[in-house]
Amino acid sequence: NAGVTQTPKFRILKIGQSMTLQCTQDMNHNYMYWYRQDPGMGLKLIYYSVGAGITDKGEVPNGYNVSRSTTEDFPLRLELAAPSQTSVYFCASFSKGGTLNTEAFFGQGTRLTVV
């Protein structure tokens, strides 16, 4: 059971470039989330999804886009990279399955640097 898989692990982008951060989960969770982590700021929610075809903005959505065509995949798109998007990005999926199983599972993160 792979859990939540993020690719790539590291990436350096030039200002203005675009890229997609991939996130896949094999636990059949309906809820998926993208966060960014900046030093001293904790995790800020970028976008989330409660099921295939449904997405919604989080706390810091500007400069990002998402799609959810399948239950398993929740890619995050950066269209015009800016230095302010330098961060560590985490994808998570959530199981709401009773007392024992209700928790969020996280990927290992993608460290993105925009120069």
Binding site: Y33, L43, L45, Y48
Partner: protein, 114 residues
């Protein structure tokens, strides 16, 4: 909308001393509450959670947290810390009633001195 406040950005303690990491949340409806731990250069792992029932919840490595509805708090405690507890700890809240956002606090860095 829900929010989470972790008042202490850093907490230094000596090994074998007790520690408390504070977490307060704001929400007008019932919530799920979580503590996650992040070791250096790793992702987040669930430490413990409150969903319903007993207000005192415990982890397998000696941490415990108590849900206090009147004070809207979910403080994390350990009676005796170990060097291996050095990590960043995040409190998180999710609305109980619907599929929704999980909002995290800004984190508390726990550093253990020998």
């Amino acid at each position: 909308a829900q929010s989470v406040t972790q008042l202490d950005s850093q907490v230094p303690v000596f090994e074998e001393a007790p520690v408390e990491l504070r977490c307060n949340y704001s929400s007008s409806v019932s919530v799920y509450l979580f503590w996650y731990v992040q070791y250096p250069n790793q992702g987040l792992q669930l430490l413990l959670k409150y969903l319903s029932g007993s207000t005192l919840v415990k982890s397998i490595n000696g941490f415990e947290a108590e849900f206090n509805k009147s004070q809207t708090s979910f403080h994390l405690r350990k009676p005796s810390v170990h060097i291996s507890d050095t990590a960043e700890y995040f409190c998180a809240v999710m609305l109980y009633s619907s599929a929704s956002k999980i909002i995290f606090g800004s984190g508390t860095r726990l550093s253990i001195r020998p």
